[in-house]
Amino acid sequence: MPALRNGLSALTFVWSLDQPTNSQALALKAGLSSTISGGTENRSAYSVADFLWLKGIEYRVASTAQHLMLTITAPDENILTALDYFEVLFHDASYSKDWYARELQQLGLRISSKTGRPEDVLNEIAYYLDYLPGGETQSAQDHRYRFGRPDQVIIRSDVSGIERRATRLIDTLPAAKRQTLSSVWKWITSYFEMDDQPYSLPTGTIHFHDTDATEMLVLLIKAKTFQDTAQLLGANLLVDYIGANQGSEMFQIIRQDMRAAYDPRSDFIIMGKNKAIMTLSATTKATNWPDVYQRIKDIYIATRAGNAEMAGLNLQHSTMDRGYAFDFFMDSEFGALHYLHEHPTGTDGTFNLSFFTALENVSPVKVKLNAHAFLPPWNDFLLILIGGGEPPNAELKSKGYCVLPKNTPLSYCLDSLTGAHS
């Protein structure tokens, strides 16, 4: 992959998975993370953190339904040192039960009905879509897998000798990954016969009524598999036009004209090849939420009907272009995820990321004229209400309605609505 353009080098180690449960995904990440952060027999957790800090080395652990990823970034001049250091951590990790427990707590999902944050809602939904339901979080002992050889390594660096050094590191790891990653494999095999997690959300309304709240989060969400990347990017552009920034329709209408919300917004999160979740949200005075909901609906329907203004759409198009280019060349995890979406089992030699080819070919004029083909119908969205104010009306309840109990994950209602629909 091309080198980053911010003076950093990055390597992403990738281990294949096959749709673990959400609890198992959490345990996997906590296990991997604590293996690094917990130190070794000769290096305390503090000295590891101190060393990484001094050298400007960062690491991140992430997972999808198919992959467990460890991304290491460091200034170019320190990346080889970083690999030396991680080799020691891989081999000599002290597997502290306490560190595992702490990582598990830190990585755990926040209950979004408690925070009212759109990003916490998105996290809960992303987990729901990516992983199979249920499964007990593994006990502290179960994380004690040793590193097997990763299935792929994605390198973003021009530093001389980095491939040789990375290969040397990998060669020191046990080759029989399915035996060495025993815990991982055990989880995988136990679900081997299960169907893929369907990539969809129910429609209807989820309502958490917070009697103490003076505000209401109104959030609409849809998970969609697109025909191709061009379709996905067209939808991305339109959703950005609707709510991505201060130039968006939602900002101009809901904040600047209605004066009803501080931060109305949209999010378009790419979850896999041609898969995305899109959200429209605003936190508003509890008594005003039906009006805000209606205006979001009006904006969406008008945009889907082809009524986007070209000037605004062109601005959003250039912002989207710049944003993706920036992320690709600055954010190693972003690049790795896109690569894995397109090449989940890896590839050798020259390769093409069709996402960026499609990005070059997005035509705002065509997107505007065919908006209805890019955006799903309004009724396909799931409405999530978190806060105070009146309950939704009968019309909103008619497509499915779930009252979310206090301190309860959204999956409670997602399961309930899905069951009702099926």
């Binding site: 800090w53 400007g56 200034p75 707590q105 830190q106 944050r117 004066r259």
Partner: protein
């Protein structure tokens, strides 16, 4: 402003890149501005103009939130005046405790527009009928949204109210005061605080010093120095040194049981922080190293910890530690651990090697942070927000190298000495 922030939640995040020395060049033909500087850099195809009003949330009159409302009004007014097409760009205005910052960024060929946008902030806000009034509603939404989203915000406010025994100045009463927000107070705040002599300007990035000087003269030469600058009564706020306030609360808005501690530290015989910057940054690095080692790496009581250290221009310091507890750890035990750790922080004397290492840590950290545009801007702002000249990473390195070990030890000793504290023990309720 001298803020040092440190998070502990498992991962350290730094930035990388090529970096060169940066000069901070004062500009003299600046009209009535408090100060103007250019910091040329050759690493980015961009120019940033930071207009810093040297008043912030601490300067709020009654009601709390007035400075914040003024920030909104001035930002939208400047944007509408200059651009007349507000959809072209996002507005970047931020209120801090001691300053309000308007940042306009663009490519070098946009610098003239960036200067016009900056200059317009000082003009009395002009907004369409009804817009300004309804911006109060937006401020309500923003304040309540942030309050809901971050428990740290309200825990710290409560701790500061108890520490200072006040709802004003260094403490605030933001939520209760929301219904009292009004445009008259905001316009009056603008009139008193958005005056040239209370404003600094920093132009940084890909710009020649002569060009910057010409632009500052062009846009600010007509401004008139107005002395004296606005009063800052909060600088004299001092809690009783014997205060050891502890309040226990319960809330269903917390994710975990949480301890919030705030400590107020005075430095005997000192009245300005301007010559204490080197000692501050090195000593606080040692402080956070020792605290994090004792509280995070050597025990398993705490899940997450955030350490904030604020050093005022009047040479007093607020240390804030907020710690979320691991399940099963009692608030009392955590509080004891925190107290014992703080009291015993200098049991092991600070060695020259530890100071050398902390100095190195700060210099490396500064170099790394400054490689990202937002980090570089914040770096310049950090000290300039107090009205002092901005400090670039290269000047910072020089300052730290010139700081004696004795100064560091004395600084650290003052922080650890008994002083006024306010603690909130917050229990998560279902």
């Amino acid at each position: 402003m001298h803020v040092f922030k440190f998070f502990l939640s498992g991962l350290f995040i730094l930035f990388g890149g090529t970096l060169h020395a940066q000069d901070v060049i004062p500009l003299t033909d600046k009209g009535g501005l408090h100060a103007a500087y250019v910091v040329p850099t050759d690493v980015r195809d961009r120019v940033d103009v930071q207009l810093i009003v040297l008043s912030g949330a601490h300067d709020d009159p009654e009601p709390s939130g007035t400075a914040h409302l003024t920030e909104h009004l001035a930002a939208f007014s400047a944007d509408a005046t200059v651009l007349r097409q507000p959809r072209e760009r996002d507005i970047h205005a931020t209120i801090h405790n001691v300053a309000t910052v308007y940042t306009n960024s663009g490519t070098p060929d946009e610098v003239d527009k960036l200067m016009r946008l900056s200059r317009a902030v000082l003009d009395s806000p002009k907004l369409p009928d009804g817009f300004a009034e309804s911006e109060i509603d937006i401020l309500h939404r923003e304040t309540l949204l942030r309050e809901r989203q971050s428990s740290y915000r309200w825990l710290q406010r409560k701790a500061l109210q108890n520490l200072y025994g006040s709802l004003r100045g260094r403490a605030n009463n933001t939520i209760d005061d929301l219904p009292k927000l009004n445009l008259e107070a905001a316009y009056q705040f603008h009139k008193e605080h958005y005056v040239p002599s209370n404003v600094s300007l920093i132009i940084s990035g890909n710009i020649a010093p002569d060009d910057a000087a010409e632009l500052v003269a062009k846009y600010f030469k007509d401004t008139v120095h107005t002395a004296p600058p606005p009063d800052k009564p909060w600088l004299a706020q001092r809690p009783d040194p014997a205060l050891r306030y502890v309040e226990r609360i319960q809330s269903d808005r917390l994710m975990h049981d949480t301890v919030q501690l705030v400590k107020f530290v005075e430095f005997e015989g000192r009245t300005t922080s301007v010559d204490m910057q080197g000692a501050f940054f090195i000593a606080t690095t040692i402080l956070q190293n020792r605290l994090s080692k004792a509280l995070y790496y050597d025990t398993n009581q705490f899940l997450k910890m955030e350490i904030d250290i604020y050093f005022s221009k009047a040479a007093d310091l607020e240390l804030s530690i907020i710690a979320e507890l691991m399940p099963g750890v009692s608030l009392e035990d955590a509080h004891d651990t925190l107290n014992t750790t703080l009291a015993g922080l200098l049991k092991t004397p600070i060695s020259p090697q530890e100071i050398k290492r902390a100095r190195h840590q700060q210099i490396e950290g500064a170099q790394n942070v400054a490689r990202r545009a937002s980090g570089f801007l914040y770096f310049l702002l950090n000290v300039a927000a107090d009205g002092f000249p901005p400090v670039s990473p290269s000047i910072f390195t020089h300052t730290l190298n010139a700081t004696s070990d004795q100064d560091v030890i004395e600084f650290m000793t003052s922080i650890v000495s008994p002083a006024a504290t306010s603690v909130i023990l917050a229990e998560k309720a279902d």
